[in-house]
């Protein structure tokens, strides 16, 4: 046991190679870019909407496709089933998300400068927590929208949860949720951190 702790302690004190530090710079750039690019896309396709209605979710804003027009259109359609309109102001996470992304960029830079394995482990763990928290909160939002339907609405449908990833059929619409460029970059971040750890796994403490 003692040996394991010793190995752990040595591992955590390992310094970072140049390659790892460069990967960290890339990771910082990735997360900064992700903050400005759409993270996720929700797309609705129906016979009379062959071109589809798109909703792009950013860290800081909600944007409809077709020059923004798809957002009011989606809200317009949702009023028939009594769904609350999707309004940017209601998404509190859009106020702290960009800040959080900034924090991860700064922590990556800090780790690149300090050059200790420990910083990377901290970064990886906190980022994973952040990711699962965000996905969970996103899922909860989707659940709430689909389950708080106004009973006075013209149409009554069974409460539902819009799908988080993949496709499903809701009435006449096929709803598809997929990560966008920002989401992909966001995914790349932990991979880069993991790669940085890997590249310095044998460095001197």
């Amino acid at each position: 046991m003692k040996k394991l702790f010793q190995r752990e302690s040595v591992f955590l004190r390992r310094s970072l190679s140049l390659r790892s530090r460069l990967l960290l710079l890339v990771a910082a750039a990735t997360v900064v870019a992700a903050a400005f690019l759409p993270l996720w896309q929700i797309r609705l396709v129906a016979p009379q909407y062959q071109e589809g209605l798109a909703l792009y979710i950013y860290t800081h804003k909600l944007v409809g496709g077709n020059h923004g027009q798809d957002l009011p259109e989606i809200n317009m359609l949702n009023h028939y089933i009594g769904m609350k309109p999707l309004v940017e102001e209601d998404f509190v996470e859009m106020r702290w998300m960009p800040f959080a992304f900034g924090v991860f960029a700064l922590l990556s830079l800090r780790a690149a400068v300090i050059g200790r394995m420990l910083s990377l482990i901290d970064l990886g763990v906190s980022f994973s927590y952040f990711t699962f928290f965000s996905l969970g909160s996103f899922y909860y939002r989707l659940y709430t929208y689909g389950h708080s339907l106004n009973p006075h609405a013209p149409m009554t449908i069974k409460p539902f949860t819009p799908i988080l990833l993949g496709s499903q059929k809701i009435a006449n619409f096929v709803q598809t949720s997929l990560p966008e460029a920002g989401g992909v970059l966001f995914t790349l971040f932990p991979i880069l951190i993991a790669a940085a750890i890997w590249c310095s796994r044998k460095e001197e403490p």
């Binding site: 690019l37 896309q41 797309r43 396709v45 909407y49 062959q50 071109e51 589809g52 027009q69 009011p72 259109e73 317009m76 028939y80 699962f132 013209p154 990833l165 993949g166 496709s167 096929v174 598809t176 997929l178 990560p179 966008e180 460029a181 989401g183 992909v184 966001f186 995914t187 932990p190 991979i191």
Partner: protein
């Protein structure tokens, strides 16, 4: 950004942050054509535009005395829409809202003959379509951004019978128009029709077009003898700055024209130097007549010449090069080809055969290139840009294809040899159109024959019969009829425009709505009373009106402004008020206003007339009008 997305978009994040591919969102693939129903080269296959597919060209037909313009697609010939211009059209609410009512004025109809597309550098630029009103001397501009009539100018002063119109100059400086009828000028003056030759006058006019807004105004007029001007065309290339019209009553007959205007062997065509006319007006050589600068061609030499052409000609068409001008005398079986370079030389050398009221008459033989024996009743000529001309033969019910000059000595000796092909049409063809014929670069490919009689060609619909149009393939040596369709009365001329020249909007962007009475949010709507005027600001959206109750009293004036706040294509709402003759149709993003007096008490339902959504039937409300007696209590 897009590239990045394309490279990495088909990736998805799972809990374990795995990357995988192949998740294309549905709906991105376009509907593909179903298999062609017939052999590849059959007429049916060549006109078949599969469901979901689109035509290659627009065809803008004039609607004659329906006052409308019909829009079809080529090669399918399918009617797509109707653009109302000079008459009410309940289907789009045209003529029912205050703006279009004002544009129409007191006239309930017009007679649309010759649509003309706007041009830049002698080519269609897809901005506007101008159409004339033969009946009430007006000219209208349709904006091809939204396919709506945006301006009606007229009645044009000193202009009676706006038939020789709408001929657009090379850069849309002017739309040129000429009078079919002559009257004592200015309009409103009385003279005995027996004094026709002395007291009556016609005119050719330059309708100036604002290069930015397209706003039309009368630029200048040239007063002419009462010759009954007919069709015309504008010049280009060597004939740039010139325009041409035929006339059919050089005899100046005022009664029994059928015979009395057909006595002379030749009638005069007008050769107009419109740039000189424009310059003369700028130099102050015009006099004002009914508020318009008018030129007397006897006092301003160089603006007008006459050219004798065979008996009662109809069409006079400039070819794509601008050098050849073809006039067809409907009572003689020939098409006369004039050489504009010779016309210019004759003018320079003063090679005139006579003078009429101070205007030189160019010597016919000095400028004629040849008389092509095309057939009986030649009317109009169009060009394919490959050196061929196509002339409609009214009496013969045919189209003749013939070779344009330069001709060989052998051909010149017997011009029968330049007539290459002839095809029968059904029946009595008037105009014909080849896409871009009056531009520098015709599209060729298709010719549409617009036939006056359709009898026996369609399922019988009783005595009121439609008109007949035939699509003719002109790509081969021999012409071939591909398709036949029927239209409501009455296409005269048409224009063909390549579909990709324009990109019409499909909703009116909210940001562009400048109507001071537009409202976009339910909280800004409402009914307000100012004395006896009840003003309603209303929104229409799927599937309700806000407000859906309007209270008024008998005798009130009701003003309703309704904004369709949708920004989705085809989400059109209508506002019909029963037994109140209100019919507004509001496109997405548009605001329309109607004013009416509450003449009777009662409750009048209003509803959405243009099917919009699953709950369209529920889109309704009430206009409750208290009787005067009850209201005063």
């Amino acid at each position: 950004m897009k590239l990045l997305q394309q490279l990495i978009a088909p990736a998805a994040l799972t809990g374990a942050l795995l990357l995988f591919t192949g998740c294309n969102p549905p709906g991105k693939t376009t509907a593909s054509s179903t298999a062609k129903p017939t052999e590849v080269n059959s007429a049916a296959a060549r006109t078949w535009v599969a469901p979901g597919d689109k035509d290659e060209f627009y065809l803008f037909y004039s609607g004659g005395h329906s006052g409308q313009v019909f829009v079809a697609g080529l090669p399918s010939m399918r009617h797509i829409t109707t653009i109302p211009v000079f008459g009410r059209y309940p289907g789009t609410g045209y003529g029912y809202d205050e703006e279009s009512k004002k544009m129409l004025g007191d006239y309930t109809w017009g007679d649309v003959h010759h649509p003309g597309l706007s041009k830049t550098d002698g080519l269609y630029d897809g901005r506007w379509l101008f159409v004339n009103d033969n009946a009430n001397n007006r000219i209208a501009r349709i904006d091809l951004r939204d396919f709506k009539t945006r301006q009606i100018l007229g009645p044009i002063p000193n202009s009676m019978g706006n038939h020789g119109s709408s001929f657009v100059t090379e850069n849309t400086e002017y739309v040129l128009v000429a009078t079919r009828f002559s009257v004592p000028l200015p309009k409103g003056r009385y003279a005995d029709p027996n004094d026709y030759a002395k007291e009556f006058n016609g005119a050719v006019s330059g309708i100036r077009v604002d290069p930015k807004s397209g706003e039309m105004s009368v630029g200048w007029q040239i007063i002419t003898p009462p010759f009954d001007w007919d069709l015309g065309s504008t010049g280009k290339g060597p004939s740039s700055g010139w325009a041409f019209w035929t006339s059919y009553n050089t005899e100046m007959a005022h009664d029994q024209l059928e015979a009395n205007a057909s006595q002379g062997e030749r009638d005069y065509a007008a050769i107009v130097n419109w740039r000189a006319a424009e310059a003369a007006v700028k130099e102050g050589r015009a006099t004002l007549l009914d508020g318009v600068p008018v030129l007397d061609p006897a006092k301003v030499p160089g603006v007008l010449y006459y050219l004798p052409v065979p008996k009662s000609p109809h069409g006079i068409d400039t070819d794509p090069s601008g050098r050849w001008i073809v006039a067809a005398g409907k009572l003689q079986p020939i098409a006369s080809v004039f050489d504009f370079t010779k016309i210019q030389a004759a003018i320079e050398k003063k090679d005139f055969e006579s003078e009429f009221r101070g205007v030189p008459v160019i010597r016919h033989d000095a400028v004629i290139e040849g008389e092509v024996p095309v057939g009986l009743g030649p009317l109009h000529t169009q060009y394919d840009g490959q050196g061929n001309a196509y002339t409609s033969l009214f009496i013969e019910s045919a189209v003749a294809k013939w070779k344009m000059p330069p001709w060989t000595a052998e051909e010149r000796a017997d011009l029968n040899k330049v007539v290459l092909d002839k095809i029968t049409v059904h029946y009595n063809i008037g105009h014909l159109v080849i896409g871009g014929s009056e531009t520098k670069q015709p599209y060729g490919k298709y010719l549409v024959a617009m036939n006056k009689l359709s009898k026996g060609r369609h399922l019988s619909v009783g005595p009121s019969q439609p008109e007949d149009s035939e699509l003719i393939d002109i790509t081969g040596k021999k012409m071939q009829v591909l398709y036949e369709t029927f239209t409501e009365p009455e296409p005269h001329f048409a224009q063909i425009l390549k579909a990709d020249t324009i990109k019409p909007i499909e909703v009116y962007p909210k940001a562009e709505n400048t109507d001071p009475d537009a409202v976009w949010d339910a909280k800004d709507t409402g009914v307000t009373r100012h004395g006896r005027v009840v003003e309603v600001k209303m929104i229409a959206i799927r599937s309700h009106f806000t407000p859906d109750r309007i209270d008024a009293q008998e005798g009130d004036e009701l003003v309703i402004h309704v904004t369709n706040v949708e920004q989705t294509p085809d989400m059109i709402h209508g506002l019909g008020i029963v037994e109140q003759n209100v019919n507004l149709v509001i496109d997405p993003g548009e605001t329309k206003t109607v004013r009416l007096t509450m003449k009777k008490s009662g409750v009048f339902p209003f509803y959405c007339t243009n099917f919009c959504s699953a709950l369209h039937q529920e889109m309704q409300g009430y206009l409750a009008v208290k009787p005067a007696s009850l209201a005063e209590k």
